[in-house]
């Protein structure tokens, strides 16, 4: 009886042990699987910096957002990818002794640029930097009062040559007049409406002493005939810019005028 009872007890214990082992194994498996799942999720969050932001970023990137209704305007005026030199030489110190300027000085070959207040004004500077640098006045938005203009979606700029080469600095007011009249007479709607943007077109023309423009020529075409023609017509509409300054000794000045066109 006793032995029989003991044997029976042994049998009953082994069965429970098997259940226990199975349950422990299952629990261990659960722990491992859970740890793998939870661990991997935690690792991802941690790697992304944690918090809801990381998830937010991931999700937002998948949402098809509507396009920005306002088109961003490119401010780069040239095709060059160079670094825009946004300001002229600003850091010239205050000149402590400036020679009294000769107000009626005649045109002479320019000896050397003197550090006067005039040259602190934004003016096209000779390119001294590496080729990759956009010269001042040719990059970015309008930044010089006498070198560029904006007319609607269009932009232009110009350089003067005449006399000793300092016409632009001596008679800045006249350059401004030329700037204003050309921009007033350039009619954007003459450019083919299908054209969104075009290469720069360069014109050259002369201004005689009476202020009349002549010899208008396309120096470099934009590749868009209607833009070239509209630029030429702008000049043809102008009867006079007003007589050249009386102090100017030359018989004419030559102007190079460029137009950039971008339809808004």
């Amino acid at each position: 009886m006793a032995s029989g009872e003991i044997f029976f007890e042994h049998e009953s214990w082994g069965r429970n042990l098997a259940w226990s082992a199975a349950l422990h194994g299952g629990f261990a498996l659960f722990v491992i699987v859970y740890a793998w799942i939870a661990g991997s999720g935690h690792g991802s969050n941690w790697a992304a910096g944690g918090g809801g932001g990381a998830m937010g970023v991931t999700l937002v990137s998948n949402v098809p957002l509507p396009a920005n209704p306002v088109q961003t305007k490119s401010v780069l005026a040239t095709e060059s990818k160079g670094v825009s030199q946004s300001k002229p030489q600003e850091k010239i110190e205050e000149p402590e002794a400036v020679a009294i300027p000769e107000k009626n000085a005649k045109v002479k070959p320019r000896p050397k640029p003197q550090p006067t207040a005039t040259q602190r004004k934004p003016q096209p500077q000779p390119v001294e930097e590496a080729n990759n640098v956009v010269p001042f006045g040719e990059g970015g938005p309008v930044s010089g009062p006498y070198s560029m203009f904006n007319a609607g979606a269009a932009k232009g700029g110009f350089g003067f040559t005449g006399g000793g080469g300092d016409f632009g600095s001596r008679f800045a007011w006249y350059v401004r007049v030329v700037n204003q009249k050309v921009s007033e007479n350039w009619l954007k709607y003459e450019v083919d409406s299908r054209i969104q943007t075009a290469n720069r077109v360069y014109l050259t023309f002369d201004i005689d002493r009476s202020g009349r423009p002549s010899h208008v020529q396309v120096e470099q075409s934009s590749g868009v005939p209607s833009l070239d023609v509209s630029a030429v017509r702008a000049l043809q509409r102008i009867d006079t810019f007003g007589p050249l300054p009386p102090d100017y000794s030359g018989s004419k000045v030559s102007v190079e005028f460029w137009f950039d066109y971008t339809r808004k």
């Binding site: 957002l65 509507p66 005039t118 007011w173």
Partner: protein, 455 residues
């Protein structure tokens, strides 16, 4: 879950914000698209020249200087302010101390803040005995090396009228230099019709409304004055015993001179830009049609023939080879253009009720009066419009109600004079050709049909 909820909120926000922005954009954009305004873009975006005009300094201690200086300074300021090409620097920004001569100019205090002026006008005025002397300079203050753009000296009698004339002349010199060779209008005149009890006479005044005075005293009804390009004669239409006839006034003789009578109703004479021909409308053959005669009234020939009335001719002031006119050939009056010989008729307006065309001095634009929506239920306002002839794009210049009519160009092509009843009575107004700077220049009586002199 928490994370997911947060991220969902973020994504909703991400959707809602652009949607709101788009809605706001549309809401703000709608009023613009809802109106019939088209900007041609000409002349837009061009900066005005920032100019400082401090009061001129007394050159001596003569007691008459005070009044003369006031007249001179006010006139000069107004002329430059009215020019339409300057941004006048407020006098409150000026540095202390008067400037009478170049030696007084401190460049940095004018070119720097607060004035930030590009140009400076200064000078002195002095009366001695029977002479008034004015010295004036125009300086580019940002160009210290060679600042002088203009230096002038004037001498006249020491009267306020002379001071006014000198100020006009000096202002016109400045405008000529800085406005690209276009003469200023400070010395121009405006001719107009002034109503009195039972009759209407032709009057004249300075461009700013000063010096209003009668030209004709016929005691009848005279309309549509048109000054000749050289300023020596004025054609107008006047009611005579035989009907409406073209009359001619000579400023050289200061009286009416003879001019042929054509019979019928003859109205709205207009000079060709070379002063050799006149166009006008006449009903001598029944219908009102456009006729052209030479300056003495001879060599009459008809240039239009249509079923409707053709009236109000206006020459292309640059070429003299085209005429704009009003025709009712398709019903309501519309603006048309044609060659001076009547060929190549082109319709310019396509709706409403359009009258009073005037061709700009550069030949590029027409200005006219237009009721774009005409008929029952339409607003009924009559406004001044400018049209680019090549593209037929137009811009509405007046928006302030009332009836605006009879526009006429100033010789500089920057200003327009017109009549309007917006102030309660019929008066003469001026504005820039952009529609800005509208000013009433007559105040009393009934004044209408202005015509700006050619120079």
């Amino acid at each position: 879950m928490n994370l997911k909820f947060c991220s969902n909120t973020t994504s909703y926000k991400s959707l809602v914000r652009p949607a709101l922005a788009a809605a706001l954009f549309l809401l703000t954009a709608l009023p613009i698209f809802g109106q019939d305004w088209i900007k041609t873009g000409t002349g837009l975006g061009v900066e005005k020249i920032r100019i400082a005009v401090p009061d001129f300094k007394a050159a001596n201690l003569d007691p008459r200087n005070t009044e003369l200086l006031k007249t001179f300074n006010d006139t000069l300021w107004n002329d430059l302010n009215n020019a339409g090409i300057f941004d006048m620097v407020s006098k409150s920004f000026y540095p202390l101390g008067q400037i009478g001569s170049p030696a007084d100019v401190k460049f940095e205090s004018w070119s720097g803040a607060p004035p930030n002026a590009a140009m400076l006008v200064f000078g002195n005025l002095g009366s001695a005995g029977s002479t008034l002397t004015v010295q004036g300079w125009l300086y580019d203050v940002k160009n210290v090396a060679s600042p002088q753009v203009l230096g002038k000296q004037y001498a006249d009698a020491p009267t306020t009228q002379a001071a006014r004339v000198i100020a006009h002349k000096f202002a016109d010199e400045i405008i000529f230099r800085l406005g690209g060779g276009v003469n200023g209008i400070a010395e121009t005149q405006i001719y107009y019709v002034r109503g009195a009890s039972g009759h209407k006479e032709i009057w004249a005044m300075d461009y700013d409304g000063a010096n209003q005075h009668p030209v004709t005293t016929l005691g009848t009804i005279s309309l549509s004055p048109h000054i000749s390009p050289d300023g020596s004669r004025m054609a107008f239409s006047s009611f005579t015993g035989s009907g409406w006839e073209i009359r001619m006034f000579s400023f050289d003789l200061n009286r009416i001179v003879s001019f042929p009578r054509y019979g019928g109703t003859n109205l709205t004479p207009a000079w060709s830009p070379d002063g050799s021909r006149l166009a006008f409308s006449s009903s001598r053959a029944g219908n009102s049609e456009i006729y052209v005669v030479d300056q003495s009234g001879g060599n009459l020939h008809r240039v239009t023939s249509s079923k409707g009335h053709d009236v109000s001719p206006g020459w292309n002031r640059k070429t003299g080879s085209e005429i704009a006119f009003v025709s009712g050939r398709t019903g309501l009056p519309q603006i048309y253009t044609m060659g001076a010989d009547g060929t190549n008729v082109q319709r310019m307006t396509d709706q409403g009720y359009a009258v009073s065309p005037a061709w700009s001095p550069n030949g590029q634009f027409l200005v006219f009066s237009w009721m774009r929506h005409y008929g029952a239920g339409a607003p009924g306002s009559e406004d001044i419009y400018i049209m680019d002839i090549a593209s037929k794009q137009w811009v509405q210049l007046t928006h302030d109600g009332g009836r605006n009519d009879f526009p006429s160009w100033a010789p500089d092509g920057r200003h327009i004079v017109f009549q309007s009843n917006r102030s309660g009575s019929l008066q003469i107004w001026t504005m820039l050709a952009t529609g800005t700077n509208q000013k009433q220049i007559t105040a009393s009586g009934a004044n209408s049909e202005p015509d700006w002199s050619w120079k």
